[in-house]
Symmetry: C2
């Protein structure tokens, strides 16, 4: 089905890589805010826990499709989620 599109794989992977960088960066402001305020009470534990499980599955999906963007982005995001869980535990 890829042949239907005029874009080549390099451009698609570049979009994926940008998407990966942006979603990975999404967790950072939350970590900074939590670190600054030392308060993560309003965060549900289940959010980072469930996201980490899901993003580990995305990592394997990327691995099986050999899509580097998916692998790198999700590995980083899993790390951020685990840090968020750890921070909430410490601050509560």
């Amino acid at each position: 089905m890829k042949d239907l599109f005029l874009m080549d794989n390099t451009i698609i992977e570049l979009i994926g890589l940008t998407a990966g960088v942006v979603t990975s960066a999404g967790f950072l402001p939350q970590l900074f805010r939590g670190y600054k305020t030392k308060k993560l009470e309003d965060i549900s534990y289940f959010m980072p826990i469930v996201l980490a499980i899901g993003m580990t599955l995305w990592f394997f999906y990327g691995f099986l499709l050999n899509a580097i963007a998916i692998m790198v982005a999700n590995a980083f995001s899993v790390g951020c989620s685990l840090v968020l869980i750890f921070m909430k535990k410490i601050y509560s």
Copy 2:
């Protein structure tokens, strides 16, 4: 490179679909908690905003690769992020 792996595309898409369901579900406990406590003060606005931008890019990536799992999961997650932003705005 897909030929290196013994798994066929159906199984890979099934893993992607499971990953999509799990990551999408990850936002729900946060929405429920926010709805129940009416407090989302500790959540950084930038998290759902940046995640929504990134997941929109993932949506296009999935669109270009014709990967339904990536499209559905990210469309749902973008929706959840927007609801989270809206809820934080209302409750603050």
